[in-house]
């Protein structure tokens, strides 16, 4: 989870992230951020997220749960 938080922070270009941050309240959250997260998750965890999957995600913790569930699926 810590490693994921760090990678997610790098992707969004923010200094750090907490597990319960509200991702969509960041000014960096836009369509490019969505693509960057999809690419980061694909490259690091071999999980193929859809943009729609990110629609229902609020926090890094929820995103990490989604990535893990897709990885084990």
């Amino acid at each position: 989870m810590n490693e994921f938080l760090q990678k997610l922070a790098e992707t969004l270009e923010v200094p750090n992230l907490k597990a319960d941050d509200k991702l969509k309240s960041f000014p960096q959250w836009d369509s490019l951020a969505v693509l960057s997260i999809i690419a980061m998750v694909d490259a690091n965890y071999s999980v193929n997220l859809q943009a729609a999957d990110l629609g229902s995600i609020d926090s890094p913790e929820e995103l990490w749960t989604l990535v893990q569930s897709k990885k084990s699926a």
Partner: protein, 355 residues
């Protein structure tokens, strides 16, 4: 579906770009969008400059201009053209085919074959496949393939998703039989169930253009477009490319019994720099072997981007010696195709500007 051809070759490529240039950062001032985000898009996606036609210019105008240049320079003779193929999704008219209009304006011989194909970003690979199949006929010795779009005329100036990245261009490719046969392998795939991801909803018979289809609608995120405009589900297309294109190329290489290392350059369709870098990373191909600079210099001209990338990056090498190319096109349909194409001493590989 896999294809294999033996005695065919590309002998020349000419690209025609409109002289009219637009600058991304200037255009983004028209959007309600913070400047630092525009700069970020420029940096990541590679958006910078693009070429678009001025009012009323059509694919046939660019194509006739380019082919006439080839006639003037003695690089092509009118009477040699046995088939003229046009691949476009922005034709001059529904009826007649754009190929017929070009044939008439160039006063080409009647004893020939003209045909139009409706195909988008995979259009260069599809056009080459068609040209090779036409050349199976003894009566057809030289094929001229025109890939061209003026899709800037079909984008909403208020849709940030697509307006700043679309460019117009025509590519003219000459294909002939090869006295020194080498194998050309290709592979093409389709998934029409995802056709709504890249579509112009109105203007065909399903939904003819009307006052209603011209009405701008709120598409969210401060973007507005009408049903007459080109729509792209950017995230879905990104996902499609990352998922489908690597196995397409890997299977093609395996079928041809070739390695990635034996390919000099991977010339892909040019939607944006980000997508191509991610594609190269995923396929473990060095970035310098997969050019991604077309969108920032000229914009995304759909089926014309692969020849535009060839002329922009490899003109000297393509005219001087031999290059092993792997082409890949992907887009509306959805359709995706790849081809292992050897290029040997092209007679011409250049760009001209349409005034």
């Amino acid at each position: 579906m896999n294809f294999r051809f033996r005695d065919k070759r590309v002998t020349g490529v000419l690209t025609v770009l409109p002289r009219n240039e637009r600058l991304f950062l200037e255009e983004m001032k028209n959007f309600n969008f913070p400047e630092e985000r525009s700069l970020k898009l420029k940096e990541v996606m590679g958006y910078d400059k693009r070429r678009v036609v001025t009012d009323g210019v059509c694919v046939s105008d660019l194509a006739v201009f380019g082919i006439q240049k080839l006639f003037e320079k003695g690089l092509l003779k009118p009477e040699e053209i046995d088939a003229l193929l046009v691949v476009s999704q922005s034709p001059d008219h529904f009826i007649p085919p754009t190929s017929s209009i070009i044939q008439g304006r160039l006063k080409l011989k009647q004893d020939m074959l003209c045909a139009d194909f409706s195909q988008a970003c995979a259009g260069f690979v599809l056009g080459l496949l068609q040209a090779f199949m036409y050349l199976e006929q003894e009566s057809i010795k030289k094929v001229v393939l025109v890939n061209g779009e003026v899709l800037s005329r079909k984008t909403s100036p208020r849709d940030r998703n697509i307006y700043p990245l679309v460019g117009d261009a025509v590519a003219i490719t000459v294909i002939e039989r090869d006295p020194e046969p080498t194998d050309i392998h290709a592979s093409f795939r389709m998934d029409g169930s995802r056709h709504a991801a890249l579509i112009i909803p109105a203007g065909g018979m399903r939904l003819p253009c009307s006052a209603e289809t011209a009405q701008m609608q709120d598409a969210g995120d401060n973007n507005f477009r009408a049903k007459d405009h080109l729509y792209m589900d950017g995230a879905a297309i990104f996902n499609f490319v990352q998922t489908e294109v690597p196995p397409l190329i890997e299977n093609l290489l395996a079928t041809a019994n070739r390695t990635k290392e034996s390919v000099d350059y991977f010339l892909c369709h040019q939607p944006n720099r980000f997508m191509l870098q991610k594609l190269a990373d995923k396929m473990k191909i060095p970035h310098e072997k997969m050019p991604n600079n077309v969108v920032g210099k000229y914009g995304n001209s759909s089926g014309a981007t692969i020849p535009v990338a060839l002329v922009l990056n490899l003109a000297e090498k393509a005219m001087a010696g031999t290059l092993q190319l792997c082409l890949a096109g992907f887009g509306a349909g959805l359709a995706w195709g790849a081809m292992l194409l050897p290029i040997r001493k092209l007679a011409f590989c250049e760009m001209v500007e349409y005034p």
